[in-house]
């Protein structure tokens, strides 16, 4: 008989390396038409990092996402970056991008101030304009200002910046210290059906609520959560490298079974409203944590459905069935 169960799991996860320095640097060049180029040493690994970094640069310069072209991942041309690891790109590289963009923006403010008869600190960059704070009708377009700064004054608007998350060494005896600058939090709840005659587990639905600070691009965060859950489902129920005499017996996708779209439950994904003052525009990160609580939530749902506690992953049908049979025998 198929039995329904529900289970929840929550988690916390840090952003960036554990204590060790993991800086990022960035360079922003504003073109004379008000568009810009961002140079970053990070690598796009499919998560949308370059889109998010472009949005951060655009926000700091007061221009649109499409106005920023991002050049990445060439040690000859792009500044150093610790890389696409430790859910650190949005937070660490994002903060470096803000600093670089602010430096370029400062050059634009200094060029625009005499054009608008104000001081640089009375200016803001918004909607592709450099405008007077409180008097938005007094403005020059960013293109006009960038052109003036580079062609007339002879001062191109180029900025560079770097960021490293602040940490404190951990005591070797007690582990006390500040290993990370910030953390994210999440909860996932799984709704499963367990066949108590075969041990087969079907995940019907997963609800996920993730904190990533203020999302720079909610669509990409949703994508991360969906992808992370698929990895979590594989970790929970299917995937395992098996060995015989020290040799892998299933090093191929015929015998190492990963979830496909048919194995995926219905997903309901939400972001928790939050703002981290140390992050770029309040953002933290979203990469790794999305895969963290899924397996635990599914195991708790299996328990709720058939009353067996699975203590080793993955919860294959064989394992679940033998736990059910053991429990019946007891």
């Amino acid at each position: 008989m198929k039995k329904r169960g529900r289970g929840m799991a929550c988690m916390w996860y840090p952003i960036g390396f554990t204590v060790a320095a993991n800086p990022s640097a960035a360079t922003v060049k504003v073109n004379t038409d008000g568009t810009a180029t961002l140079l970053t040493g990070t690598v796009e690994t499919g998560q949308g990092a370059l889109t998010v970094l472009g949005q951060i640069a655009a926000e700091a310069l007061g221009i649109a996402t499409d106005d920023v072209h991002v050049v990445s991942a060439d040690t000859d041309t792009t500044p150093m970056d610790t890389g696409a690891i430790a859910s650190r790109t949005t937070y660490v590289t994002g903060n470096a991008v803000i600093k670089a963009a602010e430096q370029a923006r400062e050059i634009l403010f200094e060029a625009a101030a005499p054009m608008l008869n104000v001081k640089p600190e009375q200016l803001e960059a918004r909607d592709r304009k450099i405008q007077v704070l409180g008097f938005p009708q007094q403005y020059k377009t960013i293109g006009e200002v960038a052109h003036h700064s580079e062609i007339v004054i002879g001062r191109p608007a180029i900025g560079s910046g770097s960021y490293n998350p602040p940490t404190v060494e951990m005591d070797p005896e007690t582990g006390q210290g500040k290993p990370f600058s910030t953390y994210v939090y999440a909860t996932q709840i799984a709704d499963v059906e367990v066949d108590d005659e075969t041990g087969e587990v079907e995940v019907l639905r997963i609800v996920a609520a993730h904190d990533c600070g203020t999302p720079i691009n909610p669509m990409l965060v949703e994508g991360q959560i969906q992808g992370g859950i698929s990895m979590g489902v594989g970790f929970a129920l299917q995937e395992e490298i098996l060995f015989k005499d020290g040799k892998q017996v299933n090093p191929n996708l015929t015998n190492y079974i990963m979830p496909t779209s048919l194995d995926m439950p219905e997903l309901e994904v939400e972001m928790v409203d939050n703002y981290d003052p140390t992050g770029p525009f309040g953002a933290k990160g979203a990469g790794e944590p999305t895969a963290v609580p899924t397996a635990a939530a599914i195991m708790n749902a299996i328990y709720d459905a058939v009353g067996v506690r699975i203590t080793s992953l993955p919860a294959t049908s064989e394992k679940v069935l033998s736990a059910i049979l053991e429990q019946k025998a007891a």
Partner: protein, 477 residues
């Protein structure tokens, strides 16, 4: 010209002729229907739209918070993204790596002479020819190509560069490696014992440890109304990126080497290349492209130094792309954990103390194990305010596939344990699992297991939001 070629092509695809071409007598498979060749219209290149409408969201200000589409999305959709394996360069050749079949053995000799005479083979390489034959993000304990000891079935021992991938693969079987098998250890709980075979003799198999202490856990357990204990275990899994590891290396006449690589961290990758190749950093250009999935598995160099030296030896660009088999047996994997949890609670569900012991199967080389150990240990108690805590975590070498960085660095393993444990305790105490978590979860300003004051904490909000969306209260049985 194009039209003429087309005519020639079309004239060649008469059915009778296809039979002859695809089912020669020596194949003896006439029962199968002949495959119809795909006729590529040579005068009509693949057309893709260039006048797609601008994405309106990408033009909006302010930029942050917008559901902006990715500029690479369109290229992916149209098949225009160039992954490393799509790249080709004039005179490019291909490398393949011979891997150990032994989990633990001493290499007595490696003879590549016969392989060098095989058709298409331009060069071979062994570890002895690599200037600095070791790498690793924390401990440099991993050889680029093993030349003394193999520590898992998957260690590379020699490489071949040939005109085609097939020729390179064929030549691998002609490399003669003599091994003296050594006793091996596969279970981390066995490997932790004093008399276990040493993976990196004479060093201990325990190669990293971490302790986190807060309050007085023994006292707290004594004061508890109930103490729960359980052991949890997790398995080894692969990242399985759609795109396997792939690189192309080109050594030029000025001694400068350019490497296109699927690495996810090029700055540190260049450091590793400079070290292994013994070259100044400015003589190395490392270029990353769009990576087809990383998940932690592409965070360190693999074949890049091998390809660079083979390029130097042959004067040709050399490409190396992992097969799916290489991906499983030679790239890094997720650490299996053995986790012992002991937790003391009050009747109302408040956790008073928790003792945790983690043993990580650290595989054959360190890779990112220290990071996994650290994060796993710090996170092991869960997002809960626990005044009295002891976490002891150890990473142990085994003669298995190298374990390294993988999405979550130990967090999915410990979360499985602490959240399963949490539900066990909630059920035993008769407390709703949501309530049990809310009673113990961090608040803004809570102090973490390492004594850190936590800010922008949102654990209770996430619990309540997920429960509400799920209909947790309504769905009670």
């Amino acid at each position: 010209m194009a039209t003429k070629t087309k005519e020639v092509l079309e004239s060649k695809v008469k059915d009778s002729e296809i039979e002859d071409l695809t089912a020669p007598d020596n194949l003896k498979v006439p029962a199968k229907p002949a495959l119809k060749p795909v006729v590529v219209p040579v005068d009509k290149p693949v057309v893709y739209p260039l006048d797609l409408p601008e994405s309106e969201i990408r033009l909006r200000t302010p930029a942050v918070g917008q559901r902006a589409s990715r500029p690479d999305g369109r290229l992916h959709g149209l098949g225009q993204t160039q992954y490393i394996d799509d790249m080709t360069f004039p005179h490019m050749i291909f490398a393949k790596i011979l891997r150990s079949e032994h989990a633990h053995a001493k290499i007595l000799s490696i003879d590549t002479s016969e392989a060098e005479t095989m058709p298409g083979v331009l060069a071979t390489l062994t570890g002895a020819e690599i200037p600095v034959n070791s790498f690793g993000p924390t401990l440099q304990d991993q050889p680029v190509l093993a030349n003394e000891i193999v520590r898992h079935a998957g260690d590379g021992v020699a490489a071949v560069a040939a005109l085609t991938e097939q020729q390179a693969s064929d030549a691998l079987s002609k490399i003669k490696v003599k091994y003296k098998p050594l006793p091996a250890v596969f279970d981390p709980l066995e490997a932790i014992k004093d008399d276990a075979p040493k993976v990196h003799a004479p060093r201990s198999n325990i190669y990293a440890s971490k302790t986190i202490k807060k309050g007085d856990v023994e006292k707290a357990l004594k004061k508890s109304d109930q103490v729960f204990h359980k052991q949890f275990k997790t398995q080894m899994v692969e990242h399985v990126p759609l795109e396997p590891h792939s690189s192309v290396a080109m050594w030029d006449a000025n001694g400068r080497v350019t490497i296109y690589s699927s690495l996810g961290r090029i700055t540190l990758g260049r450091d590793d290349l400079a070290r292994t190749l013994g070259k100044p950093m400015n003589k190395i250009r490392l270029v990353g492209t769009i990576v087809g999935g990383n998940f932690g598995g592409k965070n360190e160099i693999t074949t890049e130094p091998i390809l660079a030296i083979l390029s130097k030896k042959t004067g040709r660009p050399v490409k190396g792309t992992f097969t799916r088999g290489d991906e499983f047996i030679s790239s890094t994997t997720r650490h299996p954990f053995v986790m012992d949890y002991t937790t003391g609670v009050k009747k109302d569900g408040q956790i008073l103390g928790r003792k945790i012991r983690l043993v990580l199967d650290g595989g054959s080389y360190c890779s990112w194990t220290s990071t996994t150990l650290g994060k796993g240990g710090i996170l092991a108690a869960g997002p809960y305010d626990i005044a009295n805590l002891l976490v002891e975590a150890h990473a142990v070498y085994t003669n298995k596939t190298t374990t390294g960085a993988m999405r979550g660095f130990g967090a999915p393993q410990v979360c499985f344990a602490y959240e399963s444990h949490m539900d066990d305790m909630a059920h035993a105490l008769g407390i709703d699992p949501l309530e049990m978590r809310l009673r113990n979860a961090f608040n803004e300003g809570s102090v973490s297991p390492t004594g850190q004051l936590l800010q922008s904490v949102a654990i209770k909000e996430s619990l309540q939001q997920a429960a509400e969306r799920f209909g947790w209260k309504e769905s009670t049985k």
